[in-house]
């Protein structure tokens, strides 16, 4: 069974200052989450929903500790909008995949496929 779990990316200037006292920048972001994943042979397709009040852009994707090629329909995801992201990847049925969508600030939206199988799975 394909199970995906979203992880939100958040950062708050004050929170970062508390957690990393040497970091005084305003890194941060809104909330974004992967809503569903569809696996086809050689391809993993994700739908990223931006539920924050700020636009988001996926700059890079790390899949199982490797940067991977991907294609996105628009690039910038406006508040309230969703984006389809397609990763070309030779996934293997039954194996697990850890996907990290990295934004321009370096923040990551994380998604895990615990047991890959062809088809669509809602988060």
């Amino acid at each position: 069974m394909l199970i995906g779990v979203f992880v939100v990316v958040i950062a708050v200037a004050s929170g970062l200052a508390f957690a990393r006292p040497w970091d005084s920048t305003d890194n941060g972001g809104g909330e974004a989450a992967v809503q569903r994943a569809t696996l086809r042979p050689g391809e993993i397709s994700l739908v990223l929903s931006n539920e924050s009040e700020e636009s988001a852009r996926v700059a890079q994707i790390i899949l199982n500790d490797a940067f991977v090629d991907f294609h996105q329909s628009q690039g910038e995801v406006k508040p309230g909008a969703a984006e389809r992201i397609t990763i070309s990847y030779p996934w293997i049925p039954g194996e697990s995949y850890d996907v990290r969508l990295m934004t321009a600030s370096g923040a990551t939206v994380e998604y895990e496929i615990e047991e890959a199988r062809a088809g669509t799975q809602q988060s």
Binding site: V7, V12, G28, D65, A66, D69, M102, G106
Partner: protein, 348 residues
């Protein structure tokens, strides 16, 4: 629904996007090339492309964005402002200014770095054994910093917080200055870095550089290359996501290091990666002589892979007997796939 086994540091901090303001919106959405970026991102080590799959383009960082070029860093040796003292001794002086700067570490991803002189790694300082060195340090950053040099020198010149404060050394506060003065030695390949606490944080933010002390009789003529193995943790989860040589991931995949057929190539290799215990360097289609720490003129090993712990360094010498493209990369495959890989391009 199963909860993930781990979360980013950012998530642990909770949600409060409303207080962040528009500046953060720009960070999230911002891309150096703007909205016109094509919605494709390609990498060289993925299905459908190969080690030579860098023809896709649009995957590198424009050096103008960072103000330094990893390719230029390779052969950029700073011998300082030099003059001969009475008695014949050479004095070398540098000014290193610590300040904060945002840099791009992999295409489209910015990192809030702390730098010496606006670059990561900092300038490669070079001297000859026995030279008198003066490094004028200015802390123009936002946190107290130091410069700690590897080498042999008096305690007050060590750049360690709490040591040498009676003469203005130790931890150098924001807006303060201090001049480190000592004799260059022993000859070899060393490094310098900030030693303020938390130490891992100050180093991982970018405050480090290479410090080369040449032997009294120079090494044989060679095409010399500076390779600083570094890494970044842009989501603050205490795990590096981006690895490189000279800061920009995959840079040398798209801009191979051009060397000449049969010419002696000397690589000054340093590992300054935090959060991971070891790093490594491997070259394809060739072997090299290894001079650990560069402190001897006879090699200790003839190999194609060298392992380095944090702060460890080696001088490597090799000649390429064939033309063509030869990869070099961390032999820890995860690091390679996260950016630490490149090519030599050997030309006749």
């Amino acid at each position: 629904m199963t909860v993930r086994r781990s979360f980013t540091r950012r998530r642990a901090l909770g949600t409060a996007a409303a207080v962040v303001g528009s500046g953060v919106a720009a960070r999230l959405s911002g891309s150096p090339a703007g909205a016109a970026d094509p919605p494709h991102v390609h990498h060289p080590l993925v299905h459908g492309s190969s080690h030579s799959g860098f023809a896709h383009g649009n995957t590198t960082v424009d050096p103008k964005v960072n103000g330094f070029d990893p390719s230029a860093v390779l052969r950029d040796f700073d011998w300082g402002k030099t003059r001969r003292l009475a008695g014949g001794r050479t004095l070398r002086e540098w000014e290193l200014i610590a300040y904060d700067k945002e840099i791009e570490i992999v295409p489209g991803v910015k990192f809030s770095a702390w730098t010496y002189n606006g670059r990561v790694p900092g300038p490669t300082l070079r001297a000859r054994e026995g030279d008198l060195l003066r490094i004028h340090f200015v802390n123009a950053g936002t946190h107290p910093h130091t410069i700690h040099f590897h080498g042999i020198h008096p305690a007050a010149m060590d750049g360690t917080p709490g040591v040498g404060e009676d003469i203005g050394g130790g931890l150098i506060d924001v807006g303060e200055k201090f001049t480190y003065e000592f004799e260059a030695g022993p000859f070899g390949l060393h490094l310098y870095h900030c030693h303020a606490l938390p130490l891992a944080g100050h180093i991982a933010k970018g405050l480090y550089g290479m410090f080369i002390v040449d032997p009294p009789k120079a090494r044989p003529q060679a095409d010399e290359l500076v390779m600083v193995q570094n890494a970044f943790d842009p989501n603050f989860d205490e795990d590096n996501e981006v690895y490189a040589v000279n800061t920009v991931a995959f840079h040398f995949m798209y801009h191979p290091v051009r060397v000449k057929l049969g010419e002696l190539v000397r690589i000054y290799l340093v590992n300054i990666v935090e959060l991971d215990p070891v790093n490594s360097f491997h070259v394809h289609g060739n072997f090299f002589h290894r001079f650990p720490t560069g402190t001897a003129l006879e090699p200790s090993e003839y190999t194609d892979t060298v392992i380095q712990g944090q702060g460890q360094r080696d001088v490597l010498e090799l000649r390429f007997p064939h033309t063509g493209k030869y990869m070099f990369h961390a032999h820890k495959s995860e690091f390679a796939a996260l950016g630490w890989m490149g090519f030599f391009d050997v030309v006749a």
